[in-house]
Amino acid sequence: MKILAVCGMGIGTSIMLKSNAEKAAASLGLDADVEVADIGTARGAAATADVVLTSGELAAEIGDVGIPVVVVDSFIDGDEVREKLSTALGS
């Protein structure tokens, strides 16, 4: 499966999110690839992903992309990322 981590530029905060998402996926026993994207390319990148992780303000910007868009309040809170990811994937 593929997880998309989105922030405004795709080079700062989303990479932190990527690290935490990778850790979360590993602890949930998922075989997941995590990619980063900026807000401009997020909608396009979402077409080939299974789930999107992003912040509240950007989630509105991404809108409906046909896959779950998970709002993460604190990108550096590994526990939060793990809980929300497992809830979204229903595992």
């Binding site: 700062g12 905060t13 990479i15 990527k18 990619e35 900026d38 950007l58 550096i76």
Partner: protein, 522 residues
Amino acid sequence: MDWLVAVAQFIVNEVLSVPAYMVGLITAVGLIALRRSTGQIIGGGLKAVLGFLLIGAGADIVVAALDPLGRMIQGAAGAQGVVPTNEAIVAIAQDRFGAQVAWIMIAGFVLSLVLARITTLHYVFLTGHHILFMATLLTMVLATTALPTWLAVVLGAVLLAVVMVSLPALAQPWTRRVGGDGKIAIGHFGTLGYVASGATGQLVGRTSRSTEDLKLPEGLRFLRDSMVATALSMVIIYIAVALVFWARQGTAAALDMFPPAEGLDPTVGHFLMQALMQGLQFGIGVAVILYGVRTILGELVPAFQGIADRVVPGAVPALDAPIVFPYAQNAVLVGFLSSFVGGLATLAVMASVFNPAFGLALILPGLVPHFFTGGAAGVFGNATGGRRGAVAGAFVNGVVITLLPAFLLGVLGDFGTANTTFGDADFGWFGIVIGYAFRAGDVGGVVIALVVAALLLTGAMAVQKRAVQGGWDPGARHEKALAERAEGARAEQEAQKSAEEGASRQDGGSAASGEDAHGPER
């Protein structure tokens, strides 16, 4: 033994001197340290190489698009005009200094971990692109001296490591006020602007209410998309400059600017549409560079982070500016607009005073630096001084990021004429300080640079000890003043609510208890 020498030469000249391969190898080493699978190591290393080549490709596009702009500004204003864009200047410099930048970046990161481990400054600076930019800036400034390469790398690494642990500490009292309970720090080289903004907020906004009570138009949110923001701002700048150039230099000069295709007569329409196209070209150039940066950092930063977790457990991660955006989203927009106005006001002063008097280049405001640093400055100003603090603080940031790049051009050697430069505040002041240190000769320069580094480090440790561990809160007065104001309002609400609850109980209904337990949103 000739073949051995030949092999060694081949490795040094054809592999280690090629920045793209260097970055790929370093990334692969980081991934090996994280014990990733073979496939991930090969893929990650290759991605980093490709990312680096993408940066170079983007740089070519940017340079091609900037060239006519520079000539038109020269014709329109009679002065050098510069649009600070970190990505552009870094990409242009990679060509000449790539390997040295990579070494400074890696050595600086390792040294910063050592400093984070042995001093009280337990900050791990994880904003990869800013480490890259600062490493590039130091390389460029040191390249104007006669230092041998190894010494330039060592000195650059020391300076880089010092700013990586010191600046997050200096901003930490304000960052903690913004949010995150001290678990995060700001690791972004616009620190001077943020601290200035926070301090300005303290001065002007003791009783000003938070920006978060405002209703702002959603229409400006599209500027979060940096590709749109960059292209849009460059198109506007390009068209404006083209019109002034046309008015000043006459139609003939304008028609000469962009020769039309074979067999067509040059027209003013063609000139203006070409100006628009060059603005769009600049936008895609920066987008390509960013794509390259993203490709590298997506591999490199997790590797850095994995190493950092092992070396400095429990460290505070120092992160990119947008990490503070969620704490005050309205302040981001207020700050952006105010910073931009500050940039324009400073440009006006430059054009009318500084340029004629000192021949200083004109710094045109770029939307991206103003959005990111202005937005963050707005959040810092709001945290200590509410709306007035956000407006005034971000305005100060706008002035700072317009003035500093102009003076920075003087220490970048022959890159001073590149039509672009570093945009954020810390690149400006740090580059200027180190650059001017070497006016005292090479030996004196090294000594002064090391003294500056020592002062920064001790200053940061003093702030860490007194303010961060001592619990000094720059927003305390503001909070108290607001609390007093809110107290009156809350008492009124409570009275109203209890009256309503009393009424609903009389109807036999039960009052919703979960709905009124919200604390103030932060």
